[in-house]
């Protein structure tokens, strides 16, 4: 026991002090409208390009998924931003500030800060799931699109109702294929009218059946080594995330149903690429083509045939290659 004490003490004292591999490492915090939002910038500066990661949720985290972006970090900078009351974000942001207009306003300030700190750099947005909604809200507001070089949208929507319908279609087809009569009955009985759907919709019932049907059977947290990294080496704050996750009741009860940027989408003229995990049931592939049609111009869809909701997790190498290709950087 005595022999173990000293190594254990040294390990404890050095806990979290593991040197980072990235050649450029910078920690910023943006204080804006009662939110204290961390931004971790990591990677290589030579290309003078930054990928700003718009994480999902709302209420998820950015830096917590860093292991899947380290390939990009070898060629460019990646800015990991935790949105207000999400991930490790601190301060005292009110639940009523968790709306699309405020999220887009926050994103604008994050971009302005990055441009201020990294003058002359090209900034690309990468949105995942809710981060895509945030991206479309931002890009279809004012002249915001001038602040970025391009946008990659992965498994996310431009409007709530088309998304709900696409999930309903996917769930009905999957329930039939899997002979899940209870799930089939649940999704078939949902009202066709959008307003009636809102009044009937219970998110818990919705998601439990979706996951039972295999909407997204894989998560990074299934991997023990990922969990070890998150606990011991990541600056991400897990208890903060746990506290923040409960702040979204108002968003799910009201705000989400007002989201619709379909009319404004054709205004977006910057380079766009759509990434899609084709097995996804949370955001079915039907939404990829709907997004393409709504943009009303030729936009490439990159399909990840072996992925569900988060292709950066399940097909990391291909994701890295495609991100670098979009940014005009050579593959490693």
């Amino acid at each position: 026991m005595k022999n173990l004490f000293l190594p254990a003490l040294i390990f404890f004292l050095l806990g979290g002090c593991k040197p980072e591999a990235a050649s450029h490492s910078r920690d910023l915090t943006l204080q804006y409208k009662n939110a204290h939002m961390p931004i971790w910038v990591r990677g290589e500066t030579e290309s003078k390009k930054i990928v700003l990661y718009l994480h999902g949720g709302p209420g998820e985290c950015s830096f917590c998924l860093r292991p899947y972006f380290e390939g990009i970090e070898k060629s460019a900078l990646v800015a990991y931003w935790d949105q207000r009351a999400a991930g490790s974000s601190r301060g005292n942001a009110a639940p009523e500030s968790m709306n699309y207009v405020q999220y887009a306003d926050d994103l604008k300030q994050v971009l302005l800060l990055l441009r201020n700190q990294y003058p002359g750099y090209e900034i690309y947005l990468f949105g995942h799931s809710f981060g895509v909604e945030l991206g479309w809200q931002f890009l279809t507001t004012g002249n915001n699109q001038q602040l970025v070089q391009g946008f990659v949208a992965m498994n996310g929507t431009y409007a709530t109702y088309p998304w709900l319908r696409s999930v309903q279609n996917w769930a009905i087809a999957t329930a039939r294929a899997k002979s899940d009569s209870e799930a089939l009955r649940f999704f078939e009985q949902l009202p066709a009218d959008s307003l009636a759907l809102v009044s009937k919709l219970s998110w818990g019932d919705w998601y439990s059946r979706m996951f039972r049907l295999g909407a997204n059977p894989v998560w990074p947290s299934d991997d023990a080594s990922y969990n070890r990294w998150l606990t011991w080496w990541s600056p991400h704050h897990r208890l903060s995330q746990a506290a923040n996750t409960g702040r979204y009741d108002d968003y799910y009860a009201r705000e989400v149903f007002g989201f619709n940027r379909a009319m404004e989408l054709p205004q977006v003229q910057i380079p766009i690429r759509i990434f899609w995990g084709t097995r996804d049931g949370i955001m079915p592939e039907e939404m990829a083509t709907k997004t393409q049609k709504t943009l009303n111009r030729p936009v490439e869809i990159v399909r990840f045939e072996n992925s569900w909701h988060s292709a950066f997790h399940t097909e990391t190498d291909k994701f890295t290659r495609e991100m670098l290709r979009f940014m005009g950087l050579p593959a490693q």
């Binding site: 404890f12 806990g15 979290g16 490492s25 920690d27 971790w40 601190r90 302005l112 201020n116 903060s240």
Partner: protein, 176 residues
């Protein structure tokens, strides 16, 4: 806020002269984030029974790498059960000021579109909590202790954040 810090420091200084026991421990915030804790235990009444009570000032810190450093000065009220074998168990309720210092630079946007650097950027708050301890009296002057602590950081995005830590250290008499 400066007045509150001043008051805490004053209490700490004034109580040091009457301190009977000093508790010093290594603290592991969420097990993995290193920190330190110091508590001055002031006995509240002479007792020859198994139970003793104390109050006193305390300060806890922890470092969350590339995230923040936190400092929590405050007061605690404690109860200890002392067994004749030398083992003892204690519980303390505490109430502290919470101040974090964010790693890196903190910026705030200005009306003219520029960004102002915020010196010592971080967050103020309160941290009420409870500690549980087990210990063993190696001698009259030296006690080994280990324990766990739970607290809440308030306010935190219009709610609170749970915090927990483990500790291991010593308790020593300051006076013969």
């Amino acid at each position: 806020m400066k007045k509150i810090i001043g008051l805490c420091l004053l209490l700490l200084g004034a109580s040091a002269g009457h301190a009977q026991q000093l508790r010093l421990s290594l603290r592991g915030e969420q097990l993995s984030r290193p920190g330190l804790q110091a508590v001055l235990e002031l006995p509240q009444q002479a007792s020859d029974g198994a139970f003793t009570t104390h109050w006193g000032p305390r300060i806890s810190t922890y470092y969350h790498p590339t995230n923040h450093l936190a400092v929590m000065p405050g007061l605690e009220q404690g109860l200890t059960y002392n067994h004749s074998s030398g083992f003892f168990a204690g519980v303390s309720l505490h109430f502290s000021l919470y101040r974090s210092f964010y790693k890196g630079q903190t910026y705030r946007p200005q009306a003219d579109g520029s960004f102002k650097k915020v010196p010592l950027g971080g967050q103020w708050g309160w941290a009420p909590g409870i500690d549980l301890r087990l210990g063993y009296a190696v001698s009259n002057r030296l006690h080994l202790i280990t324990g766990a602590s739970y607290y809440q950081q308030r306010p935190y995005n219009h709610s609170f954040r749970h915090g927990w830590a483990v500790e291991a250290g010593i308790r020593t008499s300051l006076k013969p």
